[in-house]
Amino acid sequence: MTQWLLAAVLGLLFALGTFLVLRRDVVRVVWGVAIISQSANVYLVTMGGLAGAAPIGDFRGETPPPTDPLVQALVLTAIVIGFGTTALALVLTYRVYEEHGTIDVYDLGGEGL
């Protein structure tokens, strides 16, 4: 049952993120992208298995297997890069506002940005 619950949680997060991405306010679009990338990270970590010890130490003996370190490495860089891109998106938003006096995608689209 919890597996379905997990799927439902991720589905909901994605749906909310998608809804935000479709808004006319650029800041909300940035939020939407942030939510989607957060839930993608959670999904990846879940794929690596929730049971098991943290992947630190020597696991070649009789010890139980650790959680998947590969997805953790992926997600670790994804978090940092996600921060970089969020920052870039925010600065872009700011510059767009400076140039055009609006952050409404309808007004911006009309100007052929």
Binding site: R24, I56, V80, G84, E98, E99, G101, Y106
Partner: protein, 188 residues
Amino acid sequence: MSDETESNRPAATAGPTDETEQTVNTSTGRVGPAFDHRTTVIARTVVRVVVPVVVVTALALLFQGHNRPGGGFIGAVLTATAAVLVYVIFGLEYLQSHLLGIDSSPNEPHAPTGWYRWLFAGGLALAAGSGMFPLLAGLPFLTQGVAFVHGLPIYGELEVASALAFDLGVYGTVVGGLLTVVAEVGEE
């Protein structure tokens, strides 16, 4: 969509002239550069105590990352957080002239970011450059090795991983990149 509330800011005129008309946007709440005058004594005292701890923790995370939780990425974001803490409480000016010892003279208002820029460029160069050494030994690009130094005082045996150089590169790149972003946005 008639129900949007109009912003009380005038339509921005692009360019540096914008600096002079920093009106207070009441609808968003007042946050940002104004902190440096409104922070309390408690906040300043706490930050004075906490920031060194944070920086030390960050460096510890960086150097022990090979064997325990930590690593270049984590150390870097934590270091950046320390800088941001100072910035939020004491202001950008204080961070740059008092802590980092960079004079932002009127002629060169962007000197600090020039310094950060070197940090991330240097970090990238270090990471890539450290990967070149194995090529000299005929090993693939970015091959890492481990060496054991015996008979040291205090440590006894010390494990030296060449990956540390790469991790330092990662650290430099991420710290430099994040500080550049924060400083550029903060200066506005």
